[in-house]
Structure formats: structure tokens, C-alpha cells
Amino acid sequence: MLTETIICGFGGQGVLFTGKLLAYAALYQGKELSWMPSYGPEMRGGTCNCSVCLSDEPIGSPLVNTPDVLIAMNEPSFDKFESTVKPGGIIFADSSIIGKKSVRDDVTCFYIPSTELAKENNLTGMANIIILGKVIRECSDRLLGINYDMIVSAFEKIIPPKKAALVEKNVNAFKIGYDYK
């Protein structure tokens, strides 16, 4: 199985890091994967995205044109990628920032006010991790079975020891999203 994900938003929202978390979680499960950032003269506050392919077999084209899963963290990115999602795909949107709903009736959508949840819980800047919690809750099966524990263990592995305090914060944020109904 091959699952293609696009994560998009403003630079500075942790879009690339969110993709890396998925990638590392898959790496530690022995899966095949690729992670590709958009790159260019993009500034903080500009749009930014990354593509993650997860598969049980070697990845052919790492280029994602039609994602199975879209995680949108701002409106310009939502507008850009909404129509590209495969029929039957899933869209996750940060409803604190994206004021609209998807016009598609052939995809499943989840709207999570992750930026507000982050603020309320004193986790400003971690809306990306909150939304990832919801993603893992709702479509672990689509993401090659990457589950709660695997993401938590990825935090522990990729956050350097001298920033260990961040692990707990990330896990908290992740749990808020995971438990969000």
C-alpha cells in the first residue's frame, strides 16, 4: 500500500516538522518512505508544504500530485490543494485559521480548531502537533498503521536530549488532538 500525504500551511507553523514526524515514525517501523519539502525563496509567513509517501514497498515517484491525505494549516494552502485530493481521500483542516469548508462530497473532512486549542492549553506554536493527533486517531490504518505510541516514540527519538522538555510538550499537544472529538 502507498499513501501519499501533503502537509501545508504558513512557514513557521511546523509544516515540515509534522511531515518529518510521520516519516520518522514510518522509518522506525521499517517502512519505505520519502519526505520532500517545497523549497525556494520562502520566508517565514509565506506558504510552505511537504509531501510524504509511505509504503510497504520501495517508493516509485516521490512526487505527490494527488494526495490521499491532506493536512491544511492555512487558507491559501487549503485552496491550492483541496481539489487535488484523491476521491475517497481525507482532509484535515485547522478551522481556527481556515474559515471555509470543503466543497468536495467525495472526500472525508475533519475540521479541528488546532490553533485555538494550542492557545487554550498554553501550547502556542504546536497547532501542527495537535492536528497530527487527530490525523493519527482518524486514519492510522491509511498511514500504514502508524499509531499513537509510534508517534510518541518518534518524539523521543528525534528531539535531542538537551531539549528533552519539548518531548512532554509535544506529547501533550499530540494527545489533545488525538482526544479531540
Binding site: 518529518k20 516519516a23 520518522y24 522509518l27 521499517g30 519505505e32 518512505l33 520519502s34 519526505w35 520532500m36 519539502p37 523549497y39 525556494g40 525563496p41 517508493i59 516509485g60 515517484s61 516521490p62 512526487l63 500530485n65 494527488t66
Partner: protein, 352 residues
Amino acid sequence: MERVLMKGNEALAEAAIRAGCKCFFAYPITPQTEVAAYLAKNMKKRDITFLQAESEIAAVNMVLGASSAGVRTMTSSSSPGISLKSEGVSYLAGSDLPAVIVNVQRGGPGLGSIQPSQSDYWQATKALGHGDFQLIVFAPASVQETVDMTLRAFEEADRYRMPVMILTDGFLGQMMEPVSFSDETPVIEEKEWAANGHKNGRKHNIINSLFLQPDELEYSVNERYKRYDIIKEKIHEAEVYKCDDAEIVLAAYGTTARVAKSAVNQARELGIKAGLFRPKTLWPFPAAELKEACKNAKTVLSVEMSQGQMVEDLRLALDCRIPVEFYGRHGGNIPSPDEVLEQIKKISERSL
């Protein structure tokens, strides 16, 4: 072996250190910057020299100096910077000096774009500088292959005393994939020809590309071409995928080969007999492998991120006996598997 997740550029830099590259010189340019950054970060703890040069021209000439002194050395850049390095590459070739040159291709001509491209195929394989000479050109298609080919590049450069290019692109450079590194330390032989001080123990070594007497220059170039003949016999590598019964053979290297492979798989699901020929070495070009891959082919389709460059080598290698068509996107665009599949379908329908 442990798998780690790394960007192509960083993995290349790590592979260079493990291959025994002692001196690295470069000038900043997108999208190869991570190579330099990684080496700069590691230079103290790994005992290598990293120096940011004042220009691409200076960087390649520092490589010329370090190579003359007998150490493994490398420079990396991206398309416009490689044009500037062409002078030094010609001198490296003319002086029979080993070196590894990395081109993380971006769009051109001119300043072009910073997005991935494959429009430097001709430059790499035909004429990266003035004079009669060749580079061995490796074209990786994954982060793992970038690593494996980096070690190969240093070894072949030393073996044949010539510059070797790793021709990658912005996509492969920026992408992260799982990769593992061999723990083996390469054996690097002492270079008896190096100009590093004769310690009053031998005649002076001369590193030079100047031969004012026509006969001498002709001789030296002929000798080099004899070496090229050996290289052509020994180094010609390709991946051949589902070509046994393929009537449509796609030909692509690097990033576009990944896209083409996905398109081949999709075509097979539709019952179209498609296959993929992926050269791993662009010079020498794996002509025999291509002919074998095309034994049942009615059409060859070259897929490139350019206006069509490798397509000419395909025609030459096939002696124009099989029609070779071309599909490309460029300017920083990457063809999608769907676009390539459309081309396959068109060819397939036409031949019905």
C-alpha cells in the same frame, strides 16, 4: 545496517566523508547548500577541511590544488555554478587529476530557477569545458544510490585519475529517504604522482596540462582516450525494469526515472506492455544494456526534465533502429506519473 533518514544532499556529504574526502571547497548556491553546510558542521570532529571559496572558479581550483597534493577532494554546486567550474574541470582532466564534482541540477539557461531540472545532461556528458575529455557521470535516483555512487565516484576518480561527476538534482538533493551507510573504511592508496614535496627522495613531480609540442599533446590525449576505452568496457550500468516483453520502453535517469517507473506500473495495470530503462552511468552510456532492454520494443520514450537531451544518446545507442520519442517538462517542473502514463497510452493506441 541501521537506516537513517537524510536529505539527499546531506547523505551525499556524509558519504563523501566516509569515502575519505579530506578537502571540500564550495561556494553557496541553491539547491546544493546542504552539502556544504553538512561538511562545515562536521569538519572539526571528522578531521576534514571545509573552505568556502570566494567563487565557484576559486573552489574548483582549490580542488585542483588539493588533488595535486594527493588527497581525495570534492566540490559541489548547482547548474550556473557548474558552468563557472568548467574551466577548472577541463584543467583537472588535462592534468589527469582525480576529483569529484557534484551538480545538484536546477533550471537553466542563465540564472534559470532553483527548482529541479535535468537540463545539464549535455554539459555533463559532452562538454564540461574546452578540449577533448570526458567525465565519468553517475546519475543516482534515490538517496541511497546517491550515497553508494558517491563512494564509487571517489574510487573511480582515483583509479582512472580523472574528474567524476555525480549528476543529481534539486529534488533528489532536498528529498529525505531512509538510507544506510556501510561501516567499511575504503582503502586509499598513496599517490606516487602527487606534488606534495619530494623530500629529496625522488625527481620532482609535475602536474601540468600544457604541451606546447603538437605531438606531445596528441600523445597525451591519445593515452587518456585509451583509458577511456577501458572505462567504457568496465563502467556501464543501468537498471532494466519489466523490459523483457516491453513494447514501449521508457528511458529516464534520476528523478524522472522514479516518475517513469510509477507510470510503467500504472500502464501494466492497464495491460500495456511497458518497461523502464534507467541508465545509472550517463558516461559511459550503457548502450548494450539499452539494446537488450529494447529487444521487443517498438517505441522508446525518453522522459526528461529538459527539452530533450538524453534522447539523442538513446537514438545513437540504438542506431536509430527503433523510434525514440520524447516527453519532457522543464523550467523546474517535474512530469507527473499521470502525464507520462498519458504519453504511454497515446503511443499504445497509435500502434494498435
